[in-house]
Symmetry: C3
Subunit: 195 residues, 3 copies
Amino acid sequence: MEGRKLIVTIPLLLFFIAVFSVPPAAFGRKVAFPRKRMPKPCMNLVFYFHDIIYNGKNAANATSAIVGSPEWGNRTILAGQSHFGNMVVFDDPITLDNNLHSPPVGRAQGFYFYDRKDVFTAWLGFSFVFNNPDYRGTINFAGADPLMNKTRDISVIGGTGDFFMARGIATLMTDSFEGEVYFRLRTDIKLYECY
Amino acid sequence: MEGRKLIVTIPLLLFFIAVFSVPPAAFGRKVAFPRKRMPKPCMNLVFYFHDIIYNGKNAANATSAIVGSPEWGNRTILAGQSHFGNMVVFDDPITLDNNLHSPPVGRAQGFYFYDRKDVFTAWLGFSFVFNNPDYRGTINFAGADPLMNKTRDISVIGGTGDFFMARGIATLMTDSFEGEVYFRLRTDIKLYECY
Amino acid sequence: MEGRKLIVTIPLLLFFIAVFSVPPAAFGRKVAFPRKRMPKPCMNLVFYFHDIIYNGKNAANATSAIVGSPEWGNRTILAGQSHFGNMVVFDDPITLDNNLHSPPVGRAQGFYFYDRKDVFTAWLGFSFVFNNPDYRGTINFAGADPLMNKTRDISVIGGTGDFFMARGIATLMTDSFEGEVYFRLRTDIKLYECY
């Protein structure tokens, strides 16, 4: 009899698992998705990276350069209209604290461009590249960076090495900036898929 | 006895689940992957976005601008050879229907470039950015856009906020275009991984 | 009695599954992630692609072109300082072997840019686009390419068609190069998430 009860119980259990793991579909504009579960990250990491944009005078120190601009801009001074259309390639040092002169633990390599005319807003595609005893591998990122907001979330779209197949969210915060030449981003990485 | 039968049944069940969830490996050129299962989307969304390319005369209305071109091109007129090498940065309004003048529900922000000489073909990296009572968060996209095809599939590579950790497919359709200045894309988003 | 034993056994089983599926969280700089499991790929693919950069003289054969450069560069010759800041758009043939003249099975379409001043290093965003009886669909890639290394791992960030929702790792190897005009990359794709 107990066995029989179990036979009934297990399908029921599976049924409930099935029902509650399928999020409610949202069609068109109607959005009804109470967060089913807010998972815990499987990895938390905090880094800073430091961007020094080439401006025609700082070739020795610059870690990035303007490589594209709209017709009304050039490649030594960020354009008007909130730098709309300026594209920048960078190779920035990553540090564990907010000091530009701390020993770098890796490089942030990629590109960003400004994509709004009325307020400073960027879009980023880049990698954190690590090759030291503590970390070896890369974390790949992409997403929108409305940089006047205190925090901005972008996606961790993949990883290699120690960060094999990583997925997650990176929260960017502008930790400091000086004119239009230097800025420092704090990056809080939370991975929700680890292998 | 019933219980005993069950003890046998469960491992068998697990065994079958295991066997049928592992897709057959395909090596080299031999491809043998009968689609195991075509999952149902956990979220369906349909949006339109509208791109007005800066052409030297429409500064007030333009939502995008050419920021890169091959040596034989410039940044006010899309280049010959199917615009090969033209790179465009955009900040386009997103609407729920196909009317450019409908109230925008978000912004499509990112870049695309033309990457074929013999037929119009592009590659896109961008985000849908929402910040309203219905949706808050971003959806990030990347992929090839052979835009002469009626439909083209690109990848949803991540999401934040209401679209936390989203993955899926976006199907693009050119809904309308006017010369080389305006085009409208219908975007059918199907998410297959939701949290 | 057997049934009762089972009632005890199943929650225990679920408990162990739960415990061992949660990877250990790593906080801050402390990294402690013994690889829980190194999964087997669900798909292995090997391809070659061939890039011929436009240099002002090879318009007929070129498959790619410089579309962005730093202020100190131009769009017909790769810039000094390890080509830092040069951005290239490409539409390269994909072959099954290392012969440029083998029948192409698809196109590698996307962009790369050089992003280090002191050593040749690039960052790539691109798709493999297939449309033939063997493969139909796209695989999307992004990641850092420190191209002086023998092998470099980038991320498979998504896929469509036969590669629906793919995730994995692609290992790049420079198979050959001629001056600064031609290079050939071997790409070993291992997918760890297949549908």
